[in-house]
Amino acid sequence: MSGHTRTIRVDTLARVEGEGALYIKLVGERVADVKLKIYEPPRFFEAFLRGRHFSEAPDIAARICGICPIAYQMSAIHAIERALGTRIDPAVRRLRRLFYCGEWIESHTLHVYMLHAPDFLGYPDAIAMAKDHRIVVERALRLKKIGNRIVTLLGGREIHPISAAVGGFYKVPTKQRLRELVEDLEWALEASLETVRWTATLEFPDFEQDYEFVALRHPGEYPFNEGRLVSNRGLDIDAAEYEDHFVELHVKHSNALHSVLRGRGSYLVGPMARFNLNFDKLPEVAQQAARDVKLAVPVNNPFRSIMVRAVEIVFACAEALRIIREYEPPPLPRVEVPNQAGVGHAITEAPRGILYHRYAMDEKGLIIAARIIPPTSQNQKRIEDDLRDYAARLVAWPPEEASWKCEQAIRNYDPCISCATHTLKLTLERAEDDGSNP
């Protein structure tokens, strides 16, 4: 961010990240209404980016999310590079994939072990779980730390990574610095395989949905930051066509916009979508890990997303090792990118799903328009659709247990509110069915 700072107040943003609220209305035995309210920071940042030079965008975008700053940086950088016709060195591209590996390891480990697993094992939180599953939690600590080491090494500092830039990196690591990660990553690969086996021992409710899965697909690799956007129902588009096919709807009950596929409705992004659409691109070690626990395409039970995330940790560890072993530093850390007018679009795969960015720049390289559509807002309608079906099974349950089950269903999506959904405010309204309600 530049030295120039401004104070901007937007009342709807004066809420701590992580607040979420769920409202379900039951009429008799029927679910009449489901409203999930979540908080969405990108709207503020879109305005904040206007008037800034494109070189500032990656650092500003990284501040949107403390859990996945790399995804925001990568989508911003790719969109701007596409607008300006920038060609990067292949070694830089590989380093960006490594960067993404680190973030996936960190984010998925946090979610699988600390946020989602307690639900399946019947604990109120990870602290209670740790009393009985100390070795498991210790494994999570070490795994997450390894992801953090990758991010810190490439990002240049502890929080808010600043090294990634339009055109490359401000500084790239030496071969030796990357080699120092190998021993830890070899352990992490084994630990991730154990993670897959461990998640397979959990009990899953019998709940399958008919999803339209949407994810990137690349001809040669499991997707991080490149590829066409595809679905299991025929979607196959470039990032530049995204806004022709997806539309964001204002809904009264939430600050977040609901993203839907034009004429088709809700869709699902994230690990299950990537896995179902790109299983053949996973390295053999990850494919075998899935086969060993009978996790086969298509996975349509959202509760099994915890297993898919575990498989993606295997992928991220294996991919990180491959990149590090083959690494040769680029001749230049980054190419110079001259100011020019243009519009660029990019989609990358954040841990919780596709993250769309669009930027328009003037001839001085100043941003005149920015659009950011995060995965959580894309999944929000899909979460409500899941809950509508799932809550119908919980009609007879005591309110507290029904609440907990719904929270677990929301955590299937690892939304940005997932850290706080243990404190999610649930309103369960019951009414007699007199035939007058919709």
């Binding site: 602290i127 730390k145 500092r157 808010h160």
Partner: protein, 152 residues
Amino acid sequence: MRIICCGNPARGDDGAGTLVAQQLRDFGIEAEICFGEALELIEAWTGANDVIVVDSVETGAALGTVWRWDGRKASFPTDHSASTHGLGLSAAVQLARVLGRLPERLQIYGIEGRRFEYGTEVSPELKLAVEQVVRELAKRTSSHWGARLDVL
């Protein structure tokens, strides 16, 4: 002694901890910065016996109030951390206690904040609190790092 400062400088008063770290570093005192996510915090203090954590908190007290808690004692108000993530400092302390990974000495400085929205700067009242914490920590740690106390 290890000093760990938590916070997000893009989130108003949540940036107080990172300001403390920056000012300590200006005096030649080592201070780590982290978001305050629980697992990250436990890793950050692993291997140290004497740990100080600085974070912004929201207890309802006057803006800029500086709290000092013994993190090893139950008196630490575990539900008042203003961390921007659900598993924050209080969860780190509780989890570390379960895992036997609390440091021998854990001093927590809480700086009372009020505004945690995106894009705002740290409240002016907090800047005084930040300076107060920096002065205290510099005095406590001067024997470790030879802080330039003459400038305090």
